[in-house]
């Protein structure tokens, strides 16, 4: 076999580049809203390793708070919580799944972030999950301030918010970056890292399942951690409906169903949505 010459390889590279340049410009003929209603089923892209938002239980079933939120949306569309198909991906697989149209919308501990919102649209947040630090008890770390020493290592997830917060709250701590929450957790469990940062419900879930080895530090990192539904950008009809649905969950007619799901996964009521209601 002869060596590939530059002349042979170059066209392939050029085609790849042109393809990339043309993708975001692909025209959108019809709103996803109509596609979904015609299909009679909602296709949702999600993660599978972020308990209690989206994970597989002992029976191998995909469950979690975000999964139930997607089922609530399916109920609103089709009066049936099972008219939904989940597409499981890793964290970085969420965006192409939406852009390629493989899924109608996505959930899964997904935080709204300005850089991301250029490429995909977000609804208003359906939960402010908060970010906590989970530490191994062996490490002797008792506060977020303790953690800020160069003898400690923290396990991050490969998203920009994690890197931002590490710089802000514990700039001296060494950082390891993983591509799944499961690997983050394993890093603390195996002693690779002394601590990890993750959405508060996930941290509490893991601490509750490993009471001998791990605990959640008091206090939160940062003010809010807004998790929204994400979808293809530029589809006003579909975005407006989903955003309305989220608004109805958090402050409107679906508040009872939303509260029920919230209570099921987090063991407490969602924060009051009206300032004059005492919880």
């Amino acid at each position: 076999m002869n060596m590939w010459s530059v002349r042979q390889v170059l066209p392939a590279v050029v085609v790849a580049l042109l393809l990339a340049a043309s993708l975001p410009a692909a025209a959108q003929e019809k709103s996803r809203m109509d596609v979904v209603l015609e299909r009679g089923k909602l296709i949702v892209v999600t993660l599978t390793t972020v308990p209690p938002f989206a994970f597989t239980d002992e029976k191998g079933q995909l469950v979690g708070f975000d999964i139930d939120i997607a089922r609530l949306i399916a109920t609103a569309l089709f009066k049936d919580p099972n008219k939904v198909e989940f597409v499981s991906v890793t964290a970085e697989g969420r965006w192409p799944a939406i852009e390629s149209g493989r899924a109608d919308m996505g959930v899964g501990g997904t935080t709204t972030y300005p850089d991301r919102a250029i490429r995909v649209a977000f609804t208003r947040p359906f939960i402010d999950s908060g970010i906590s630090v989970l530490v191994s008890k062996k490490s002797g770390i008792k506060s977020i301030k303790d953690l800020d020493q160069d003898k400690y290592t923290v396990a991050n997830l490969n998203n920009p918010q994690m890197a931002d917060r590490a710089k802000r709250f514990f700039p001296k701590t060494k950082v390891l970056t993983f591509d799944t929450p499961a690997a983050q957790f394993l890093a603390v469990k195996s002693g690779r890292a002394n601590a990890l940062q993750i959405d508060t419900p996930s941290a509490e879930y893991w601490a509750a399942h490993n009471t001998d080895e791990m605990e959640v530090l008091p206090g939160l990192l940062g003010a809010s951690q807004n998790n929204g539904i994400f979808l293809r950008t530029g589809d006003f009809k579909w975005w407006l409906w989903l955003d309305t649905a989220v608004a109805e969950m958090r402050t409107g007619s679906w508040y009872p169903q939303y509260s029920e799901i919230y209570h099921k996964w987090f063991g407490k009521n969602p924060p009051p949505q009206k300032f004059y209601i005492q919880q």
Partner: protein, 216 residues
């Protein structure tokens, strides 16, 4: 944001990642070839049981995905008091698996050596170790260059799995940028082009080497 604009903003951030991919691939390639030679030596010199042990080792690593030793060494070694850095763990896992493949490649080349040479070596009084070092190994390595080239290309692509254990090589960099900007196509097309260049460079290096020593 157009593709070219995206690349002009985020392209430079791949530089360090490219260096990590190149370093781990190079270290693992050298290690795998040396380890493969050692396995070959054991197979040839340690009798039937030596050959069986090497066979078992080769079976074990050839029939399991390389991600398993990567995870196992990185996450399990700290439990037995060996918290080696991620780069060491990852490179070691690649060496262990690719060494198994390399030893099989070299074994194939040993079979291509005329048996008469072994008789000749013994008749002029060469000890087994000298025979291996002066007669067998040089020929085996030269015969094996094309096949080794293929294996090293596979190894180079397998370095992408090191992203699973917190090494920021090319694939991890693409994941990080995808998570930051949501631009998955851009991030991974850049990585594809960089891998293509690295692999093409490796292929050229092996072809040139093979051409240079083929007459031996």
């Amino acid at each position: 944001m157009s593709f070219t604009r995206w690349v002009s903003i985020y392209g430079p951030t791949y530089a360090t990642a490219l260096v990590w991919t190149a370093i781990t691939a190079l270290a693992a390639a050298c290690g795998a070839i040396v380890w493969g030679c050692v396995l070959l030596l054991i197979r040839l010199s340690a009798g039937r049981w030596g050959a069986r042990v090497v066979d078992g080792y080769v079976q074990l690593f050839r029939n399991t995905p390389v991600l398993l030793p990567i995870y196992l060494i990185y996450f399990a070694f700290p439990l037995i008091g060996l918290p080696w850095p991620a780069v060491v763990c990852g490179t070691l896992a690649l060496i262990l698996q690719n060494g198994a493949y390399v030893s099989e490649i070299l074994r194939g080349s040993v079979n291509a050596i005329d048996r008469v040479q072994f008789d000749a070596a013994r008749s002029i009084g060469l000890a087994p170790w000298s025979t291996f070092r002066k007669i067998v190994l040089p020929q085996v390595l030269v015969y094996s260059i094309p096949a080794l080239g293929n294996q090293i290309v596979l190894l180079l692509k397998d370095t992408s799995l090191l992203s699973a254990i917190s090494i920021t090589e090319l694939t991890m960099q693409a994941k990080l940028l995808t998570e930051q900007t949501g631009a998955a196509y851009e991030a991974f097309i850049v990585v594809a082009v960089l891998y293509l260049l690295l692999v093409s460079g490796t292929e050229v290096a092996f072809r040139v080497t093979h051409r240079a020593v083929r007459w031996l």
